[in-house]
């Protein structure tokens, strides 16, 4: 089903998404992105620089948050712009279940040019890990 601009209203909530972040995910993201900073993989190193444990790449969190929007619209190439502030890190313990981050989205603006602005949320425990997270998508007329 394709979402049309006429189906969308301000304040509408997008289907939320809970995603697990595991150590294996961080290794996979490091290899896929080229960001091999040891704070994302090496627990001893992370603790030596004052972090509570290994933390997820902020860009991995950003890459997952937009899935709320792209799952909703279907076509990921309809995203026109996307921005976030990485406010707090996602701490990832060495456990099978990892850390769960809850991603949400809400329609903030419906524009006359057929685009929609979505405000995104990303919460880990009770901590907001992304702020000022918003994306603009072009929808079918």
């Amino acid at each position: 089903m394709t979402i049309k601009i006429s189906d969308v209203s301000v304040g509408q909530e997008l289907p939320a998404l809970d995603l697990a972040f595991t150590r294996a995910d961080l290794v996979a993201y490091a290899n896929a992105s080229g960001d091999q900073n040891p704070i994302h993989q090496d627990e001893a190193f992370a603790k030596s620089v004052g972090l509570p444990d290994v933390i997820a790449h902020g860009m991995l969190t950003m890459g997952r948050a937009i899935q709320v929007v792209t799952n909703w619209v279907g076509d990921p190439t309809s995203v026109i712009d996307y921005s976030v502030r990485m406010t707090r890190p996602v701490v990832v313990p060495d456990t099978a279940e990892g850390s769960i981050v809850s991603f949400t989205g809400k329609v903030a603006q419906v524009n006359e040019d057929g685009t929609v602005q979505v405000e995104l949320g990303a919460v880990f425990g009770d901590v907001k890990v992304l702020g000022l997270a918003r994306a603009t998508v072009r929808l079918a007329q």
């Binding site: 896929a32 992105s33 991995l60 899935q67 799952n71 076509d75 990921p76 190439t77 996307y82 921005s83």
Partner: protein
């Protein structure tokens, strides 16, 4: 000692071309855990894929001695992308990075780097990365 404000407006030489392959796209999609069927054949890249090339280009800038940036105190705080078109398999990406802003924020400094991502001569995505360089502890 802070960053060199004379570098505001400085444009770095374009990065070496990066060929987008379906393997690279698929590895990135898999690492994101994104099961959107649009990515199944590895021909179109997800919205945050450009970071693969923009981060490398900025890394070169971060290590430029003229910028006087203390890399050990750097935190990536904000990221923005504006898309002119999606990145696709076969694109040969180069990045033109420039220093858009350097300013103090309390005892810290913040800097914004603009990264124009081209495929050949075509501008496909512009990224902005804001970093915070933490000042000395009191």
């Amino acid at each position: 000692m802070g960053m060199n404000h004379d570098m505001i407006g400085h444009v770095y030489p374009p990065s070496k071309p990066y060929l987008v392959t379906s393997e690279n796209i698929s590895a990135f999609v898999k690492a994101l855990g994104d099961s959107n069927p649009a990515y199944a054949d590895g021909t179109v890249a997800p919205p945050t894929f450009p970071i693969v090339v923009t981060m490398n280009a900025m890394d070169a800038a971060f290590h430029d001695p003229a910028l006087q940036l203390d890399y050990s105190r750097l935190v990536h705080s904000d990221q923005k992308f504006e898309y002119l078109r999606p990145i696709r398999v076969g694109d040969e990406l180069t990045v033109s990075a420039s220093v858009e802003e350097i300013k103090p924020l309390g005892t810290n400094e913040i800097a914004t780097f603009k990264t124009d991502v081209f495929s050949g001569d075509e501008l496909v995505v512009t990224g902005w990365s804001k970093i915070v360089v933490r000042g000395p502890e009191a």
